[in-house]
Amino acid sequence: MVFGYPIPASRECPKEALSFAAGALITPAMNDPGTLDGPVEPEGGSSDAPGSEGVAEKAHPGNSLPGKTLPESPWLHHRAPHTNRPHRPASGWLHRLGFGADAGAKLRRFARQRPITSRSMVSLLAGGALVLWLAGTSLHRIGAQEQGLVTRFGAYQRTLGPGMAVTLPWPVEQLTSEDVTTIRHTTLPEGDGENLILTRDGGLVNCIFDVRWNLSSLARYRFSLADPERTVRDSAESVMRQTLAEHRLGEGLGSGRAEIEETARDRLQALLDRYHAGVAIAGIDIRRTDPPAKAIDAFRDVSAARQDADTDVTQARAWAAQMIAHADGEAAAFDKVYEQYRLAPEVTRRRMYYETMERVLSQTDKVIIGTPGVAPVLPLPALPLGPKPAEPPAGGAH
């Protein structure tokens, strides 16, 4: 066997051709050195063909030209028999792999007995395609966050969880899988516009909110609703409208936000369950509730008014505290002085009088008229209506 491609021996092709082909890929040095110059005589033995065509030309009985030898035809040479080939050790690579000692020879014999024709190539290809088809459409891998739906000829069979899944191959069963646990977001409204919703008292709220949801049952999601995403969106819009319509404007704008979110979430879940939508609502988040753009100034003014009122009250409180503290302080001071006064009334009174006079008269201009009965003419200075720039001369003492 050469290069693993056995040459068919069952056809009517001379064994010599076999040997030749085998030997052609072996270096000539493998021939018996002694026979290099001349034709190689058939050495006999097992490699002899049953027919006698392999005999060297020289001794051909059919040679009718006396005295002339026909040129040697290389095709008729009987090359060195297989036994002269370098002896492949009986224990080859197969043996080293663990197969038997003569596994190589057995394999060669087997391969020669089962030749590959073009027909068998086709059946090999067909077999390969079959395996591919089976493997490709029967084995599926379902991701950790997914579920798979198995349909047999279109009819729903079962739902499979994450992991490897085996189904019947393609035309019979089909598997589609989808992510069920990842939370999806739907924002209402889409785009940048205002979304004005009427409240119970006729006010308008511009409400923008988010719905977070995922799938609870893939089979229901796929088979119950024609357009599940749109249904979720429309239902959310309707539920939010209904919920806001039950609250007053003030609650809608701020104070009732958490309660509105929760009520809307519960209602939306109940609604989708009625539709068998297979959707689980994780939550509704109100991103903005504002008055409409045109009325927003008036509402800002309300906040400003609240702040103003707070400021007023705070200032009043500060003033009040100051006043009370002042009163307390004065009362305490008086009480202290009064205690001293009680101990020595006349003395304290005089002392206080003199002390005050000192303070007062040292800061003022004084005119002392000592003589009784004198009625001087005192020029009255202009009534001071503010601090004078220079000191006026003191009146003379008489």
Partner: protein, 279 residues
């Protein structure tokens, strides 16, 4: 060992016939089997008359005699956009409503409407009239809060009655939007909101001022009480004490240019005249 001839040219007549018959059989099988997905039901019609209905899976039919029509089993949306409604109190409103319906009688549906699209087209006017009938009797507040009462349930029931003629059953009807139309109604509502806001702002400010005043008055009262408790112990001494403080404040500031004329009988100058005779 006989091998299958893969090329017809090498086949024997018998083999060729066999292959032909195989192809024809495959074609027939393909024509008579229909795969019906889970979301639909198949209706088999013979010369236009429905013969049987089959669920999901494989449906079969006689190839040229019968036809298969596939009908959606899922919930179908019937949307109604921008319905102009005038309420009982002459308020104009714009509604978006939608209904979820299911084809309950496919035979009927095929006979009356044919395809789901045409079905929706035919159901929309019915929904419109049913809505108007029910909601037109209510006032604005009633329409806004329509889901509260039995109004939408009645709408659903009436719509369902009409829709049965089309082989359809109505699951529910909901209002998606209730809007004031652009123009006068919307502007009027906005103006109302603006004035309400202004009123509220004014009220809050007034309230704040009132509270501040009360606090101030309260504090003054308490201060007065403190003074009275303290100074009332000796009104005469208080008078003297307070007078001294007053002189201090008025005359004793640096820079106050007051002139004082001290007459001979002035109390401060009492000792100035010298000791009293006999003292």
């Amino acid at each position: 060992m006989a091998r299958l001839p893969l090329l017809a040219s090498t086949a024997t007549p018998v083999q060729r016939l066999a292959m032909l018959m195989l192809v024809v059989a495959a074609g027939l099988a393909g024509a008579s089997l229909v795969i019906v997905p889970e979301t639909e039901t198949a209706l088999v019609l013979r010369f236009g008359e429905p013969v049987r209905q089959s669920a999901a899976g494989i449906a079969w039919r006689l190839p040229f005699v019968e036809q298969v029509v596939r009908v959606d089993k899922r919930l179908i949306d019937v949307d109604l956009d921008r319905v102009q409604l005038t309420t009982a109190d002459q308020q104009r409103l714009e509604l978006d409503a939608d209904a979820r319906v299911r084809i309950s009688d496919p035979v009927r549906m095929i006979q009356t409407a044919g395809t789901p699209d045409r079905l929706v087209e035919q159901l929309q006017p019915i929904l419109d009239s049913v809505l108007r009938q029910e909601l037109g009797q209510r006032g604005l507040a009633g329409v806004i809060a329509a889901e509260r009462g039995p109004a939408m349930a009645r709408v659903r029931a009436s719509f369902d009655r009409e829709a049965r003629d089309y082989g359809v059953s109505v699951i529910d009807v909901r209002l998606k939007r209730v809007d004031l139309p652009e123009g006068a109604p919307l502007d009027a509502a906005l103006a109302r909101m603006v004035s309400a806001g202004q009123q509220e702002a004014a009220a809050i400010r007034a309230e704040g001022q009132k509270d501040a005043q009360i606090i101030r008055a309260d504090a003054e009262g308490r201060a007065a009480r403190t003074y009275a408790q303290s100074f009332g112990k000796d009104p005469q001494f208080y008078d003297f004490y307070r007078a001294m403080q007053s002189y201090d404040t008025t005359f004793a500031q640096k820079g106050s240019k007051t002139g004082i004329v001290l007459g001979p009988e002035n109390a401060w100058l009492r000792q100035f005249r010298g000791p009293e005779p006999g003292k």
